[in-house]
C-alpha cells in the first residue's frame, strides 16, 4: 500500500521579513475594500491590483530573472500567496499565469515563448485562462473533441471550451486541444496551445453563475489559425504535461483558505462568551492549522523537485471539504439569513460564500475524481 508522505516543512526565518512587507502592502492597498469583495480573493479579478503586486516583485517569484522572475524560493512564494488570500486580496488576474502558465513554459515552453510571455505575467500585465473542459467533457477530460488540424505553418482550431474562468478578461488561453482524432489515441492525441484571446475566430461568451455574476465563459473557436510557434511542448504530449501541473494546482493555500474571510467575520461578530461559538472556532482552527501543515509540506516537496501528486489530491479533498463546511457551520451556529444587502459584513460574506461554496469541490477536479485518484494510490484500482 502506498504510504502518503507529508514531510514536515518549516518556513525559514528569513521569510518573516517578507511576510511583514506583504502585510504592510496589503494594509495600505486593501484599505476601504468591502469585506464581501475581499471574500472573493482568488476569484476577484482586478488588473490594477495585480499590476501593483507585479511591481513589488511578487508574481513569478521563483522564475529566472531573464524571464522577468525574481529567483526566490517556492517557500517565499508560499508566504506571499497565503498572506494575499488571508487578507482577501483580489488576485485572480495573475493567479493562473503565476501558478500554472509560467511553470508550464519553464518546463515545456520554447525559449521564444518564455521570453515573449513570462515577463508580462511577472509585471502583472499578462492574464491567462485555462481551456480544458468542454460541453461534453468535464471529468472525462480526455474525451474532449475540440480539434486542431494541421495547415501550412500552423494549425486551425474548431470547437468550444466551457467554464473557462475569466476568458473574457484574459490576454491568453492555454488550451488543451485534440491534434489526433484517432479514437485509439484518447490520451496521446492531445496538445497544448497558447492562444491570443483577441485573434480572429475566438469568441468568449460569459456565462452567468447562480448568483448572477460573470466569471466563467463558453469560448467558441471558429477556424482559429495558430502558428506552429504557439504549440507548447510536444505534439501529443498535452495530457502528460497537464497532469504534471496538477500537483501545483491542487495543493496551494487557496485550497483551504477560500472561506477564511467568513471565519474572520464570525470571530469579529460572535460573543466571546458563547460556548458553542468558541468550540466551533476552535475546531476550525484545528482544521486550518493541519491543512496548512499539509499544504506547506507539499510546497516543500515541490520545492525539492518531487512530484507529490497523491498528497496534493489529499490536500485538495480535505481543504475544499473544510472550505465548503464553513458556511454551513456558520449558518448552523447563528441562524442568520445570508443577505447580500445585509447590515453586517458577516451576513454579506455568508451570502457570497454560501453561493460559491459548491464550486470549491468542482473546479480543478471534482471530489469524486480526487477520491478516485487517492484510492488508486491505495492500490484499490
Amino acid at each position: 500500500m502506498y504510504d502518503f508522505q507529508f514531510e514536515p516543512c518549516q518556513l525559514p526565518d528569513d521569510t518573516q521579513a517578507l511576510r511583514a512587507e506583504v502585510r504592510e502592502f496589503l494594509k495600505e492597498n486593501l484599505e476601504g475594500f468591502p469585506a464581501v469583495k475581499k471574500a472573493a480573493t482568488w476569484q476577484g479579478f482586478d488588473s490594477e491590483f495585480t499590476r501593483k503586486i507585479g511591481e513589488r516583485g511578487w508574481i513569478g517569484m521563483t522564475w529566472p530573472k531573464k524571464y522577468g522572475g525574481h529567483e526566490r524560493s517556492a517557500l517565499d512564494r508560499y508566504v506571499v500567496l497565503e498572506e494575499m488570500l488571508a487578507a482577501g486580496a483580489p488576485v485572480a488576474a495573475h493567479w493562473i499565469g503565476d501558478r500554472q502558465t509560467g511553470p508550464l513554459l519553464l518546463r515545456y515552453g520554447t525559449e521564444e515563448q518564455r521570453q515573449e510571455f513570462m515577463p508580462a505575467i511577472a509585471r502583472g500585465e499578462g492574464y491567462y485562462c485555462i481551456g480544458m473542459s468542454e460541453p461534453d467533457s468535464g471529468s472525462d477530460l480526455a474525451s474532449m473533441r475540440t480539434k486542431a488540424e494541421r495547415v501550412d505553418g500552423g494549425w486551425v482550431i474548431n470547437g468550444s471550451k466551457l467554464w473557462t474562468t475569466h476568458a473574457h478578461r484574459c490576454n491568453q488561453m492555454v488550451a488543451l486541444i485534440r491534434t489526433n482524432p484517432d479514437p485509439d489515441s484518447k490520451h496521446t492525441g492531445l496538445s497544448q496551445f497558447l492562444l491570443d484571446m483577441d485573434i480572429e475566430g475566438i469568441d468568449p461568451r460569459p456565462i452567468r453563475d447562480l448568483s448572477g455574476s460573470e466569471h466563467f465563459n463558453e469560448v467558441v473557436f471558429k477556424d482559429v489559425y495558430v502558428p506552429t510557434e504557439r504549440l507548447v511542448g510536444e505534439e501529443g504530449q498535452g495530457w502528460q504535461q497537464v497532469m504534471a501541473e496538477l500537483a501545483f494546482e491542487r495543493s496551494g493555500p487557496e485550497r483551504y483558505l477560500s472561506s477564511f474571510l467568513l471565519l474572520r467575520e464570525l470571530v469579529k461578530e460572535v460573543d466571546p462568551s458563547d460556548g458553542t461559538a468558541r468550540r466551533l472556532v476552535g475546531r476550525c482552527i484545528a482544521h486550518m492549522a493541519t491543512l496548512r501543515l499539509m499544504s506547506l509540506s507539499v510546497a516543500g516537496m515541490l520545492n525539492e523537485g518531487k512530484a507529490p501528486a497523491l498528497e496534493a489530491s489529499v490536500v485538495k479533498d480535505l481543504g475544499t471539504s473544510f472550505e465548503q463546511e464553513l458556511p454551513e457551520l456558520v449558518h448552523d451556529l447563528l441562524g442568520i439569513e445570508p443577505d447580500p444587502d445585509g447590515d453586517t459584513d458577516l451576513a454579506q460574506v455568508l451570502s457570497y460564500l454560501t453561493q460559491v461554496a459548491p464550486s470549491f469541490s468542482l473546479r480543478g477536479g471534482t471530489r469524486e475524481i480526487l477520491r478516485g485518484i487517492i484510492a488508486r494510490g491505495l492500490g484499490l484500482r
Binding site: F6, G275, A277, R278, G282, T290, G372, L380, R381
Partner: protein, 345 residues
C-alpha cells in the same frame, strides 16, 4: 527519519510483531500482565528514550521517538510504554530523578497538600494500580507543583477504558509523596494533560494507520457480487477519506512533536489532539463499515484498535476540550489576530 529514530522504530516494531500477539492482547484484557513484553522493552531501554543522556537516558527528541509511539498505537500494545516514556521525560524535565519501573501520568483529579504530604483523588489513571509511581500535578502550600506518588499509599478503585486497558482511580489521604518540585515556566500548569494529549494523538495516528492498512487489505480480499468489494467506488471513496484523515492526524501530531522539542507546544498539541481525535471517530466508522459484520465480532481483531481509538480520543482532553481552548484563545485575541496567530505558531 534519522538513524536513531530508525533504529528505535525498527527494534520496537520487531518486538511488537513477536510479542504483542492477539493472544497477549486478549489475555491483557482479562488482567494478565504481559511480563515478557514489558521485560523486553525495559531491556531495550526505550522507556528512557526521551530522558537526557546525563540522566541515564537515550536523549532522543520527540520527533525521534514519534515512530515508536506510533508503533505502540498501531500494535495496540497492552502495556504502559507510552505513559512511562512521557512520565520519565517529564520527571527529568522538571528536575525529578526518574524512578525505575512502570510510570504513569495522572491528568484527571486534584491533589493538594503541604510539605511532603498530599491528599485528593486521581481519576482513571492508566495502569494506576500497577505503576511503580504516578506523576501528577498538585498544589503544595499554595504552589503549583509536580509530584511523584506511590499508588500503594492510596486507596485503589480498579477501572478500565473501552479497550479494557486499566484506568484506576486512586484516593489519597495524607499521603507522603516520593518527590516533588514546583512547576517552572517551560512546564507550567496542565503539563501532564498536555503531554499526555500529545502522546495520545501520536498513538491515534498509529492506530489509524493500522485501520487503513487492514481496511484496504480486507477490501481487496473480500469478494461480493463476484468481485473484491474494493472495486466498488463507494468503498474506494470511503477508504480515500480514511487515508486523508490518517494523513491529517499524522501531519498534526508530527508537528506537535516538533513543537514539544522546543517546549512551546500548547497550540500544536491542542491542534493535534483535536484533529486526530476527530480523525479517530471518522476512521473507526469507515473501518467498521468496510469490514461488515465480521468486523463487529470479538473474533476479528479490528476492535482492538477501534475500541482504543474511541477511548484515546477522549483521554487527556477530548476534541471538545481542546477545541474550546483553541477557540477561547482565538475569540479572546480577536479577528485581527486570527491569521497572524495561526501562522506565527
Amino acid at each position: 527519519m534519522n538513524e536513531l529514530a530508525q533504529i528505535l522504530s525498527e527494534s520496537v516494531t520487531r518486538l511488537f510483531e513477536d510479542l504483542a500477539t492477539r493472544e497477549v492482547l486478549e489475555e491483557a484484557e482479562t488482567g494478565i500482565w504481559p511480563e515478557n513484553l514489558w521485560k523486553e522493552l525495559e531491556e531495550m531501554g526505550v522507556m528512557q528514550a526521551l530522558v537526557p543522556e546525563e540522566s541515564g537516558g537515550v536523549g532522543a527528541s520527540w520527533n525521534e521517538v514519534e515512530s515508536v509511539i506510533r508503533a505502540a498505537g498501531r500494535y495496540c500494545i497492552p502495556v504502559p510504554l507510552v505513559e512511562t516514556m512521557v512520565a520519565s521525560w517529564l520527571c527529568s524535565s522538571c528536575g525529578l530523578e526518574v524512578p525505575k519501573g512502570i510510570l504513569t501520568l495522572a491528568a484527571g483529579g486534584k491533589l493538594e497538600g503541604s510539605g511532603s504530604k498530599v491528599k485528593g483523588v486521581l481519576d482513571r489513571v492508566p495502569w494506576g494500580g500497577r505503576a511503580t509511581a504516578i506523576l501528577a500535578e498538585a498544589v503544595i502550600d499554595g504552589e503549583d507543583s509536580i509530584v511523584l506518588l506511590e499508588p500503594d499509599s492510596g486507596e485503589k478503585l480498579a477501572g478500565q477504558n473501552l479497550a479494557k486497558e486499566p484506568r484506576d482511580t486512586l484516593s489519597f489521604t495524607n499521603c507522603a509523596i516520593l518527590t516533588g518540585n514546583p512547576l517552572s515556566k517551560d512546564f507550567p500548569k496542565g503539563l501532564v494533560e498536555l503531554y499526555g494529549a500529545l502522546a495520545r494523538s501520536v498513538q491515534i495516528t498509529g492506530a489509524l494507520e493500522n485501520l487503513l492498512g487492514e481496511s484496504v487489505q480486507f477490501a481487496n480480499d473480500r469478494v461480493q457480487f463476484g468481485r473484491p468489494i474494493g472495486k466498488f467506488q463507494a468503498i474506494q471513496h470511503q477508504l480515500a477519506i480514511l487515508a486523508s484523515e490518517t494523513a491529517a492526524a499524522r501531519a498534526a501530531s508530527s508537528a506537535a512533536c516538533t513543537a514539544a522539542d522546543s517546549k512551546k507546544a500548547f497550540f500544536e498539541i491542542a491542534v493535534a489532539k483535536a484533529r486526530s481525535g476527530e480523525a479517530a471517530g471518522i476512521g473507526s466508522k469507515i473501518a467498521h463499515a468496510t469490514h461488515g459484520a465480521i468486523g463487529f465480532t470479538y473474533e476479528h481483531a479490528l476492535h482492538f484498535t477501534t475500541r482504543r481509538l474511541w477511548s484515546w480520543r477522549a483521554e487527556f482532553g477530548a476534541e471538545a476540550v481542546w477545541r474550546d481552548r483553541l477557540g477561547e484563545k482565538a475569540l479572546d485575541r480577536g479577528a485581527d489576530n486570527l491569521w497572524t496567530d495561526l501562522v506565527s505558531q
